[in-house]
């Protein structure tokens, strides 16, 4: 192939030699740009790719003194230990239960809230309710969980209310095995319903007003308009949010549960991520905890990839 000189010293069609020439020239011309790029890549290498290498610990009896290269390899032993251990059942059960319950309650709630809000014509009332409903989102997880603990302990406001309805004693609801998961989900509802509705309100304001006029012409009442104009109008947003949410349904985060649970309710509250935390950080069994974390990561990645695939098929655009 004959190479061809371009303006500025670059060559075209010079094969590998031409390519290296161009790259070298580009790097010399844009030193700052490539310096920046290497900084960014260095960050991702250190903080993201090295820990990926650290996943090898899952197949080791890792000892911090010996490091990854010096520790003893044990094959699938850590996985076997986990899957034959006493906690695997409750961990998977709790993770799936909490994930699914959270999805079932906290996915539709912001949509319903947005629809209820959308029916209000009075601007100030709407604005005030919106502002108030976003407020719990700005309360930190620690404070929110502190409030939950305070309200649901024996003698707390919620415990008293439940006792009144059941005509029973005010008990510590968090340690009540039937209530923990629901309390966790309702806590998320309280913090997330207003904030989660923002996206749907944005979608609602984007629905074509002419469609409403047309529906009215055809004699559709408000209910019919909601059913045939409003909901189809925000359906793309709903589907997208649902699929995104499906991708993380089993990645129940450790942060709130670590605050709410205690040994008395591990049976219903302990999820994979909190177990990884306890095993790894508290008990320093790095091999086992890395193995459990890897198992959770793989499930998470599969969920994310398949939800992304579905999203691509339905809308033509995915996240990656």
């Amino acid at each position: 192939m004959k190479s061809q000189k371009l303006a500025g010293g670059y060559v075209k069609g010079g094969g590998w030699k031409g390519f290296w020439h161009n790259l070298g020239l580009d790097i010399r011309r844009n030193k700052v740009l490539y310096l920046f790029l290497s900084l960014i890549l260095l960050y991702f290498f250190i903080f993201n790719y090295i820990p990926m290498g650290g996943l090898l610990m899952a197949f080791q009896k890792y000892s911090p003194a010996k490091g990854i290269l010096g520790s003893r390899w044990v094959g699938m032993r850590n996985f076997v230990d986990f899957f034959s251990g006493p906690y695997v059942g409750r961990l998977i059960r709790n993770t799936v239960w909490i994930g699914v319950l959270d999805l079932v309650v906290n996915f539709p709630a912001p949509i319903i809230f947005a629809l209820l809000l959308n029916e209000i014509g009075q601007k100030h009332f709407k604005k005030i309710i919106q502002t108030v409903s976003y407020m719990p989102y700005f309360i930190s997880a620690v404070v929110a969980c502190g409030l939950v603990i305070s309200f649901t302990q024996a003698g707390g406001v919620i415990s008293n209310a439940v006792a009144f309805l059941h005509d029973g004693q005010s008990i510590n609801l968090l340690n009540d095995h039937g209530s923990f998961r629901m309390i966790y989900v309702l806590q998320n509802l309280w913090q997330g319903v207003g904030y989660g509705s923002i996206i749907y309100l944005a979608a609602l304001s984007g629905v074509d007003q002419e469609l409403y006029d047309a529906a009215r012409m055809d004699g559709a009442g408000r209910w019919k308009q909601t059913l045939h104009v409003t909901i189809p109008g925000i359906m793309p947003t709903i589907i997208m949010m649902f699929i995104l949410r499906m991708g993380v349904v089993f990645s129940v985060g450790a942060d709130k549960i670590l605050l709410l649970y205690n040994p008395a309710n591990y049976e219903v509250a302990d999820v994979i991520n909190t177990y990884v935390f306890r095993m790894g950080v508290t008990q320093q069994d790095y091999g086992l905890s890395t193995a459990v974390g890897l198992f959770n990561s793989i499930i998470g990645t599969i969920m994310l990839l398949s939800s992304n695939k579905i999203l691509k098929k339905l809308t033509g655009t995915g996240m990656f």
Partner: protein, 295 residues
């Protein structure tokens, strides 16, 4: 077009307004309860079964005196503010740089680099390998463990890049003609045009750091003097391991006011945020919408 009010519509609107007022009440009532309970008489508070809507018996500010003298809380308050400033600074600078570099169309292997970075969104080492890394880097029990990890995130880079790609090339070219360097173009020409995106990223980063207690729980095992606010609140509210003893207050006063002090701690740590937030609310709305468009 005139719209006739039917009975069913009036009924629906009534139910709707009542439901919304109910939701508003549920969102606000616990916060109000905390404020009022923190200034209530502790013995009356202890025997009250429901929510507190006004100061019980009398306005009692003893809990605030106790919390004001609880040094650890205020030290951690300062730490958190410092962590937020440094972390946001790092995030701002490096996200801008990353967005700028990756939005250059002439960059070699641009898509390859983008994929290397995006892959970390899909799969990562997880809690324990990251913990081991931070330990090997010698960051355990140093403030670096709080501000450095997580300063760059793929999502922020993606929205920054998208916003920078939207800027017409002519602006940049004319600046280059005038002899402007890469840095000048980035800070003076490109960044000012991406102000909203930048503000949104800063805001979400600041809120996330404000709420973050996990990194301190993991990476500050012994240096409690470096604790961020949320860790001290955790000791006060969750683990009940805070010790308020000091020369000025008697031990039994402290035990009587324990609950009120918890509420007072929530008030001093949360109310400032709740008061600022309505003014920056529109950025959150923008942020959520940008995020949705991107994904």
């Amino acid at each position: 077009m005139k719209y006739k009010l039917k009975f069913s519509r009036v009924l629906f609107l009534t139910v709707d307004v009542v439901a919304l007022l109910g939701i508003g009440f549920v969102c606000l009532a616990p916060i109000w309860h905390v404020v009022m309970a923190s200034v209530s008489d502790p013995t009356v508070l202890g025997s009250t079964r429901g929510l507190v809507f006004y100061p019980l018996k009398r306005v009692d500010t003893t809990a605030y005196h106790i919390i004001l003298q609880y040094k650890k809380l205020w030290v951690s308050y300062g730490n958190t503010i410092l962590y937020i400033i440094v972390h946001c600074g790092l995030t701002g600078v490096f996200t801008t740089i990353a967005g700028y570099v990756l939005s250059r169309k002439r960059l070699y292997f641009r898509n390859g680099f983008m994929m290397i970075i995006s892959f970390t969104m899909l799969f990562n080492g997880g809690m324990i390998p990251t913990y081991i890394l931070i330990r090997k880097l010698g960051m355990i029990d140093t403030p670096f463990a709080i501000v450095v990890p997580g300063m760059l995130n793929v999502f922020n880079i993606l929205i920054m890049r998208t916003s920078m790609e939207g800027i017409p090339v002519e602006l940049e070219e004319s600046a280059r003609m005038d002899g402007a360097g890469e840095l000048t173009i980035m800070w003076k020409i490109i960044l000012p045009l991406c102000k909203t995106t930048f503000a949104v990223i800063m805001l979400f980063t600041a809120v996330a750091k404000w709420n973050d207690y996990m990194s301190a729980l993991l990476y500050l095992p012994t240096r409690t003097d470096l604790y961020p606010l949320q860790m001290v609140l955790r000791q006060i509210l969750i683990t009940s391991t805070a010790d308020y003893t000091n020369a000025a207050t008697m031990a039994n006063t402290i035990s009587i006011y324990k609950k009120s002090v918890e509420y007072a701690a929530i008030v001093v740590s949360t109310l400032p945020i709740l008061c600022i937030y309505p003014f920056i609310q529109k950025y959150f709305v923008t942020g959520v919408t940008i995020g949705a468009v991107k994904s």
